[in-house]
């Protein structure tokens, strides 16, 4: 029976169902035991499954990631909670040099079916080091799958799939969506990892986004329709690696215009990759250059200023407005972004 379910509850249910169905699944991380995690995603798991299955670790992120690598050698499927995006950096070497590469280094003989969950991105008034959009580091690392659900149904389904995956999955949970709700009947199954979905159909422009910016994109599309009479198609990527070129290109070829929306700082990031892929595939269908909407190229700002940094509905609409609707080239921000020098 369907009932209102938060994103956080969906994740908790996915962990529960995975723990119940597969005895090799272990949940570990900082404060995941008695506390249930700082965001309560692991609430009650230690109580219900015992400390053998869901346990607190020492406060050392490289240790947690490396320890999970070792558990994999004994046939376990560890699911790590890496407390905050930026707290995951001490584990960077383990993730990049071992987690991502083990299958390759060993010719597929030793594989690491592990999931690292990162509460990530901003918009919750967090202080520094608690709001990073760190997906760029992981998508740039071959050997990792990188997934970021934006709805409770996807949170459940993609986490179940990630835990069952034979490869390591970087599972990025937008903190700003933990309390978002949907009517949901569990266990929910949605499109598999690797597929993007169209969240709202449109005919004038494709807005390609993921994770924390999906709700903003939908809001912008609604305002665009009501106030500007623009029909905006919104694509939720869900899976950054593998990337669904097919769904994205099909939409852009139909609409002829594309805007990429990502919360992370823009320079050298996931948004740039998407824009390049669209340009390479859809050049002859494009009536305007692919534009990006992103966070600013600054360290994540203090909470009171974060709204200046985060892409909002206005920045999205302003960008859509610059898509050469009247055939005039628009170079407003063409050089400013990369060089930091006004055009």
């Amino acid at each position: 029976m369907s009932q209102p379910t938060t994103y956080a509850q969906a994740l908790n249910a996915a962990l529960r169902d995975s723990l119940r169905e597969d005895e090799s699944v272990l949940v570990l991380g900082e404060d995941v035991g008695a506390l249930g995690g700082v965001f309560r995603i692991t609430d009650g798991l230690t109580r219900d499954f015992g400390e053998d299955r869901c346990f607190d670790t020492p406060l050392a992120e490289a240790g947690i990631a490396g320890f999970a690598v070792g558990l994999c050698t004994q046939g376990f499927r560890p699911v790590i909670e890496m407390q905050f995006d930026a707290f995951g950096y001490p584990a960077f070497e383990q993730v990049v040099s071992h987690v991502a590469k083990m299958r390759n280094r060993t010719r597929g003989r030793l594989t690491l079916p592990m999931v690292i969950r990162y509460p990530y991105a901003g918009g919750i008034g967090g202080v520094e080091h608690h709001c990073d959009s760190s997906e760029g580091y992981y998508v740039h690392t071959p050997g990792l799958h990188v997934v970021t659900p934006s709805t409770p149904a996807d949170a459940y389904s993609l986490l179940r799939e990630a835990i069952a995956s034979p490869d390591p999955v970087i599972f990025l949970e937008p903190k700003s969506l933990y309390w978002s709700k949907a009517e949901l009947e569990l266990p929910a199954r949605t499109e598999p990892i690797g597929r993007a979905v169209v969240r709202r159909e449109g005919t004038d422009v494709t807005l390609i986004t993921y994770g924390p910016q999906v709700p903003n994109a939908l809001k912008a599309a609604e305002v665009a329709a009501a106030e500007e009479d623009w029909s905006v198609e919104v694509i939720d990527l869900r899976s950054l690696v593998p990337f669904d070129d097919e769904t994205v290109a099909a939409s852009v070829r139909r609409t002829g215009r594309a805007v990429v929306l990502a919360e992370a700082q823009g320079f050298g990031g996931m948004g740039a990759e998407i824009a390049a892929r669209v340009s390479e595939r859809c050049f002859h269908s494009l009536a305007a250059p692919v534009l990006r909407v992103s966070g600013l190229d600054i360290p994540y700002p203090p909470p009171i200023l974060e709204h200046t940094h985060l892409p909002g509905v206005d920045r999205i609409l302003d960008t859509i407005a610059r898509l050469q609707w009247d055939d005039e080239p628009d170079l407003t921000h063409a050089t400013a972004g990369a060089q930091g020098v006004p055009a």
Binding site: G66, G70, T73, E93, T106
Partner: protein
């Protein structure tokens, strides 16, 4: 909390044999801890392992001169640490080696050609880590310390009865992962033994610039990990101490840290110039501490090893070296398409596109090479 006195290492490195092969007087601490000189058969096995291992090591160094290996980090001088702890492992145990532990891998029974795959350069790890229960050799320092803790904890959870042996060098004890490994192992009572081969140099940096600790063995204390130090050039002592540590771990009492005091007789690798940072006199001083000479002298003195047996094992070692030479002199067969095979269980659509591009590049190159009569050194297999 453990009583600190149960964690402390012996004040002096445990030693059973003097450098000349005579018996060393046991200290009260050795007696108190129940360390016993291993039996003759075990010592004979360690001696044979060291003779074979050293020959392998010399052959690998020679292969670098012939251009067959890109590079080779020798462990000559550390033979006791490479052989005795590995021979004392049981079937179900796991080994976590570094790049300098090739001799240990050969002792583990892994095909020497597969051991040298990494250094020959035709792939990264050449052996099957799961089948051999031996992790891929780690070149990033100390990262395997946390893997070993996790694997050991996994064996504890699975009740396999297995333990993990993690080899690290003195330089690696400065890395965070070494400390996190000890800490995790301590917290979860993981059955893992960390053997630090203190060979006095991290490439060129001497131990004095690495740490102010009175001995590396003390680094276990802060983590509640039982610690010990041993004369790393005394094969009998290394065997006795590692065995006791394995027993401690296997019986569920948690991890052990052992510091083996030894010396790297060769440069860091064949590409290194050790004369820039240490004197020939210093190296000569360690020649008199040679572990193979020491154990052989003891066994001969005991009347359990004679010239016939010495000759037999010498021939066995030469055969091993000859076989290695022959097989390493064959051109490695590489397949560029394999680069795409092990990135994910299923290649992503993006990787499939790139594989197709490379396939076409290879086909184009092959047709050009065919026209000019140049043979291709790569072999493409259908995939």
């Amino acid at each position: 909390m453990s009583d600190i006195s149960t964690l402390l290492p012996c004040p002096q490195p445990v030693r059973f044999l003097e450098p000349d092969g005579s018996r060393a007087a046991p200290t009260p601490e050795m007696t108190e801890r129940g360390y016993e000189l291993p039996g003759t058969d075990d010592l004979l096995a360690v001696w044979r392992g060291m003779v074979l291992g050293r020959r392998f090591d010399a052959q690998a160094t020679a292969l670098t001169k012939q251009g067959r290996l890109a590079v080779y980090p020798s462990s000559r001088g550390q033979d006791a640490c490479q052989v005795a702890p590995v021979l004392a492992l049981e079937e179900q145990d796991w080994l976590f080696p570094t790049y300098r532990d090739s001799m240990a891998l050969v002792t583990r029974g892994i095909d020497p050609v597969e051991v040298l795959t990494l250094l020959r350069g035709d792939w990264h790890c050449g052996y099957d880590p799961v089948a051999t229960r031996t992790a891929a050799q780690c070149t990033p320092l100390a990262t395997q310390a946390v893997h070993a803790a996790g694997a050991a904890d996994g064996m504890r959870r699975r009740k396999t009865g297995g333990i993990a042996l993690c080899l690290v060098g003195d330089g690696a004890t400065s890395e965070g992962d070494f400390h996190e490994g000890l800490n995790f192992a301590g917290v979860y009572t993981a059955p893992v033994v960390y053997l630090v081969q203190n060979n006095k140099y991290a490439i060129s940096v001497p131990l004095a610039k690495q740490t102010k600790a009175p001995a590396l063995a003390y680094k276990g204390i802060g983590y509640g990990v039982r610690s010990e130090q041993v004369d790393g050039n005394d094969p009998a002592a290394v065997l006795a101490v590692t065995r006791a540590a394995y027993r401690h771990a296997r019986e569920g009492h948690g991890p052990v840290l052992i510091e083996a005091h030894t010396y790297r007789m060769e440069a860091h690798t064949n590409a290194d110039d050790a004369t820039r940072y240490r004197t020939p006199e210093e190296v000569d001083g360690w020649t008199g501490q040679d572990p193979v000479v020491r154990l052989q002298a003891y066994l001969v003195g005991q009347g359990v090893l004679d010239d016939t047996r010495v000759e037999e094992v010498r021939v066995e070692a030469e055969d091993l070296a000859a076989d290695l030479r022959t097989r390493m002199n064959a051109e490695p067969v590489v397949d560029p398409m394999e680069l795409f095979a092990h990135v994910y269980a299923e290649p992503t659509p993006q990787l499939r596109e790139q594989a197709e591009m490379v396939r076409q590049e290879i086909a184009a190159t092959a047709s050009t090479a065919g026209a000019s009569g140049t043979p291709s050194t790569t072999k493409e297999t259908a995939r």
